[in-house]
Point group: C2
Chain length 386, copies 2
């Protein structure tokens, strides 16, 4: 078949729309030019609804991890006490970054594959003694398990019980889920470009509450490139960036804003929920166990734990026979699960693609042919949303 | 005229070749895939001659400043003593980054517009008393003045007089000038993608000597995203990157490698020298003073100090009348100079474009028409190199 027809279903990077590629291939412009100021202001402003913030959204030229690190080094410092909710590999990374900087991290460990309930957080916070907590870090969507945490309810607990900053890693869901930084009590919210935002990797985004903007001014941790004050100042004073930005990716981001506005932000959210529901209905029909409950399920990534079958073998077969790339498990879940990303530039037909390939593949692993069965279930879900 | 025909002559970003844009618009691939391992190994290997290193060249997803910061936080730490050669705005930035981390910085200040001679460095190093110097930082090509420092001769002095690391900011020249890390005694060499390397901004590159590779292992400065050990380890062990890389830019870098190989690395260097010589001959013919001497002149950027005329006005006129973007002066030279970048995807015809536009523009500033005069001089230089 066509070698250029490959299908990327990892939970980031995700496929790039042609019109975004075209926008990124426009003639390069200088980053200290008036044209660039217009561009960055446009993106910073039009992303506000996607981040649920009243402030501009700031762009960093770096990966999602650097945005997590920026959130850490601009909010806490050596000797501070902080809570990190760890419900998977990315919560673990957040905790590691904070620990790397000498922060006293209290890890609230959640079983991988489950969300953190507000009750668990409340109990944990009440059980802490000693110095006050400077910040609570949470992963909005745990990419490694396909769990969406109830971020607003967690934020409410943080606000009620502490004076801490509530800092959220939104890496694999912002652009696909509703969020309201004020109502959800989020002070710093970060994400990266290559997930639901339909861009190549290389940009990170940071949004603030008033309290978050205040906090970064007073954080003494040493940093330079990741000093968020520099980004706020360069934008506010000059509609610029403190360091040379990834100009082409930011030009792509403007096209992404146009696509989100054309579809309608509410419809973007609805589409992601539909993709999740179709995927889960189809997978379930095939008899493959889902890692997470419906209540915890992420709209952007679905984890499957096919106990009787080898997850890596299924992953390999999809790649070999259908040029479909999905992801495996990480750390504790390595070799035990496979993960299908369905975010960003992804339609119901893409879900049908994956389910079709899975139906054909499972036969190779000894399952009775059930051609069309998962697709039918997915269509039933879709039909209720057309 | 055509609104898409704009001419970018800033010293970065620089124009992107169409074939590089096409390479970057290829279907996105996962960064944990075998395809990506092949890609990153290809780029890391094929860039070796351009960096004059026997080791792989490592890619960071971030700007040039972050690469400078990475060079600092992986080599020196709070309380260490270091020398920074400051001959312009980017030397100043290097010093600021080191000072930000509590390093005791001895600044060797050079008049802006001049290079640092080995004799000046030798005298400076001999004049230092106190704790031994851990690292000497130098700017290879000072973008803000268009000066190329004699990096090999400086490296020789560092090696002869000290045990310090020699760390070089190669941001606006690597890809356009010859360099040999061993012969030039360079331990860490960094650059970014959007200059002579013909890529959009968003990537930085780091190369090491054996001594440089050793040094980063033992540096205690706290860092995470910019911890270069992580990049070396991920590459050496898995042909991978520690954090999500800017996949599309790296795909572009592969195409750049192909273009450099097709032209021939020696010819790439020769072309940059020719661009410099043509530009300087033309500018001189127009009676505009050059900021730097021929001996100090950079092959990638030319600074002009038109004392009798307003540099910013000339810059504005080129933009308004010819859609040509050049750069102004920075810090001490703000308002006093204009700078023309001629690196990366730049040919002799591009120099002719700028000189033609300057000839037409200077008439507006009261100069007698000398149409064709600068072009003629530039052609004379070119004719000796065809």
């Amino acid at each position: 078949m066509f070698l250029d027809q490959t299908y990327l279903f990892t939970p980031g990077p995700t496929p790039i729309p042609n019109r975004v590629n075209a926008a990124m291939a426009q003639p390069m412009i200088g980053h200290r030019s008036p044209d660039f100021s217009v561009l960055i202001e446009d993106v910073a402003t039009r992303l506000k609804p996607v981040f649920g913030t009243k402030h501009p959204v700031y762009a960093l030229t770096s990966s999602g991890t650097s945005a997590l690190e920026a959130a850490v080094v601009n909010s806490v410092t050596e000797g501070d006490h902080a809570v990190v909710i760890v419900a998977g590999s990315f919560g673990d990374r957040l905790a590691s970054i904070a620990e790397n900087y000498g922060v006293n991290v209290e890890r609230l460990n959640i079983e991988w594959g489950k969300s953190c309930s507000p009750e668990q957080l409340e109990e944990f916070l009440n059980g802490l003694s000693g110095a006050p907590i400077k910040a609570v870090f949470a992963t909005f969507n745990e990419t490694s398990t396909g769990v969406l945490n109830p971020i607003g309810a967690l934020g409410e607990v943080v606000r009620r019980l502490t004076d801490a900053l509530f800092i959220v890693d939104g890496v694999s869901c912002i652009g696909g889920v509703p969020v309201d930084m004020e109502a959800d009590h989020i002070d710093i919210l970060v994400t990266s470009s290559q997930k639901a935002l339909m861009l190549p990797p290389g940009l990170a985004f940071v949004a603030f509450s008033d309290k978050g903007l205040d906090a970064i001014k007073n954080c003494p941790t040493k940093r330079f490139y990741l000093d968020l004050n520099r980004y706020v100042k360069a934008y506010n004073e000059q509609k610029s960036t403190p360091f040379t930005p990834a100009v082409s990716l930011i030009a792509g981001a403007r096209e992404v804003c146009a696509m989100i506005e054309e579809e309608g932000w509410e419809n973007v959210i609805r589409r992601h929920n539909l993709l999740r529901d179709m995927m889960r209905a189809g997978i379930r029909e095939l008899g493959l166990p889902l890692l997470t409950s419906d209540a915890d399920a992420s709209p952007t990534v679905t984890a499957v734990k096919p106990d009787a079958l080898s997850a890596p073998d299924i992953q390999k077969a999809l790649k070999k026979d259908f040029s479909i790339t999905i992801a495996g498990g990480q750390k504790d879940l390595k070799g035990k699960i496979f993960r299908i990303g369905h975010m960003g530039y992804c339609t119901p037909f893409d879900v049908i693609k994956v389910l079709t390939a899975l139906e054909l593949t499972l036969v190779k692993f000894g399952q009775e042919p059930r051609f069309g069965a998962a697709v039918r279930k997915a269509e039933e879900v879709w039909s209720q949303n057309v």
